[in-house]
Point group: C3
Chain length 303, copies 3
Amino acid sequence: MALRAALRSKFSLSALHSQLSPCSSHGKVCVSPVIVSQRRNNSTSPKIKVDFDQSTGVAVMCLQSPPVNSLSLDFLTELCISVEKLEMDKSCRGLIITSGQPKVFSAGLDIMEMYGKSPERCGEFWKAVQEMWLKLYNSNMVTIAAINGSSPAGGCLMSMTCDYRIMADNPRYSIGLNETLLGIVAPFWFKDTMMNTVGHRNTEISLELGLLYSPADALKIGLVDQIVPEDQVLAAATKTMTKWLAIPDHARQITKSMMRKPTIDKLTSNRDADIKNFVGFITKDSIQKSLGMYLEMLKKRKA
Amino acid sequence: MALRAALRSKFSLSALHSQLSPCSSHGKVCVSPVIVSQRRNNSTSPKIKVDFDQSTGVAVMCLQSPPVNSLSLDFLTELCISVEKLEMDKSCRGLIITSGQPKVFSAGLDIMEMYGKSPERCGEFWKAVQEMWLKLYNSNMVTIAAINGSSPAGGCLMSMTCDYRIMADNPRYSIGLNETLLGIVAPFWFKDTMMNTVGHRNTEISLELGLLYSPADALKIGLVDQIVPEDQVLAAATKTMTKWLAIPDHARQITKSMMRKPTIDKLTSNRDADIKNFVGFITKDSIQKSLGMYLEMLKKRKA
Amino acid sequence: MALRAALRSKFSLSALHSQLSPCSSHGKVCVSPVIVSQRRNNSTSPKIKVDFDQSTGVAVMCLQSPPVNSLSLDFLTELCISVEKLEMDKSCRGLIITSGQPKVFSAGLDIMEMYGKSPERCGEFWKAVQEMWLKLYNSNMVTIAAINGSSPAGGCLMSMTCDYRIMADNPRYSIGLNETLLGIVAPFWFKDTMMNTVGHRNTEISLELGLLYSPADALKIGLVDQIVPEDQVLAAATKTMTKWLAIPDHARQITKSMMRKPTIDKLTSNRDADIKNFVGFITKDSIQKSLGMYLEMLKKRKA
């Protein structure tokens, strides 16, 4: 439980910043006025802003790790701390996850955490990815992804852990598990999560081709549940949350657990093997080389 | 096998009533003239009317337990007896299930069987619910649900056990597993049956929100196979039955068993645990209290 | 491994014919000019023509067993040899399967192999059917079915083993697992393959009714991925292949294996039992009789 310890100590540190770092909204309104009005608990960190509205029981978690909310070890750790804290707060019944960065919900796993790193560090990183998935997919809260930007790879995974997905209807945004495009492979629990969302065949073709879907196409296959104009994503999420919170919590939670437990158990009983498998794969020379080429390509594109 | 014994003794009693109780159709034509014409075997009871047409090999089972075909222990027992009797009759190849009550196919499990009852009685009730599902989901006959009214909860379950579902295209009718709305939880075999019908994601969202679908929306997700004008439900079922009976029985039966056996085996190997789980849940104070509030609400609505 | 030996000896024989038997295209263009232009390896046999284009890494396998590409033991053996040969050639990355016979992709398993044959022969035949499925469903190559004609039963199975299915948009063509219509039963791995393609409910109703779908209906349920005008099937397959080959092979292959391995393992660990089950079923008097009646019906239809 080294990670847990790390999470908690990190958490303590990040709490110090709570009064100092306002939500940098980068041209987006991250928190609706209604929710802000009665908020009790601004446990913010530099990279994650949580607004919890005690009157509604709903927390809005705004991802604000520039430039594209890449899921680094640090960011994942903060995310897990934030989710765990809300989970333990009985008065928090619903969680909306959204982005404070322009055009991107989350760009997915931070490639820098997988490139040129020691096996130990890679393993630590992967454990944090697992932890994020376990916490969110298994959450007792109603979780809604307010996907206000592109959401590839790990960003798509995070979205799929939620109970409901609302995406901005902007054709320049895309969502999907595109790992194969980078020469890497989505592990079995990414695959299981996607199968539970869009079925076997859609998952097979998505993963083999590394498909990224436009919001409209994502809606067609059920990868998102709703698309709305870009400026209405958070409002739609808030409205949908109200509907979900009308359901008795205990019945909804038992039902959610019944639906997801087999998938969760598969990972919890194989965490170490999954880490070992990831580390063995990602530290291969051939994989490191292809990640390096991908990073070079990104650099050139920027320049 | 106490239930079996009960079923058989019950059966003997109900057979006495066969000549006495004509189908009370409550404004609906429950049995088409064609089918009536050659019927051989009117094993009717006060609450279930079976018309078996020897010339076609098709039985029409009309549910007529006022006011809304609630699945009480008595009603389930009669239902199981009727199905078992037809199952054992080699000349009966197809079964159409429909309602003789206005506006309702079946309102689902009778809440009075779960409220203020002893654990023993609750267990007996649940065993009958299991038995109904096992008999219908595992039937060698072609089974078609002619859903001429609303079909929530247990009514939806009964519909889903059939090989084919035709629903009246009346937007005031609805169908779905809405248990969570009452604060109770659909057990794993309800969930499995729904997953086999509409897939994992539709089941997850349906069960967590306790969704009731209009006929048109039910058609969209595949919860029903066909919607027709209200006065044509039984005719459409009869027509569809002809198509199914054109398939060699033995090949169809082996195929049906191959598709459903894993789901059936899961319950048959866990019946006692499932009963224990249900009884433990339903007799909880908190659940009893929320059922009580629901019943109060129903009473007030009537008054 | 008697089959393997048979396959290899057969292979040696068929190789002798490679220079002798040009593709009899029966009014269809089986191989696009582009692909022909640089082809290196014309391992043709009388019934299967393989054109491998070294410059693209794509092989086109043209089925040309008159009149309807029935899957006889001989034809299956040749098919397995051809696939295995391409599989072992590292430079071959993609395989397009299409038909050189008019109006038919493949009529499926050759009924003559199941009628009036000894149990030993039936078992040998079934092992070859298994082998075909295992080789194709498990292939490391990108496999695309260019379905330029009807594709019932075993023809549909072969199509479903591929990574992608493109069908001629001709309403006179149909595709599906229609075994029950003949009084026989699709085995569990046919069922599993179909479930992986179109989901549980579509499979249940398809198999129980032995449904054959028009190209448009097949597209609707996902049994094929694309329909195109009849003369563009192979061109569309070639174009799609380019897209698939842009994906890094190793990532795509690991992903494909992750998706399909559980289904493949189910058969590989039950091959003998599955053969025994098939032989026991197919040699039954009642089944032989119904096959005989079917063959009579076919004869009369011809006359």
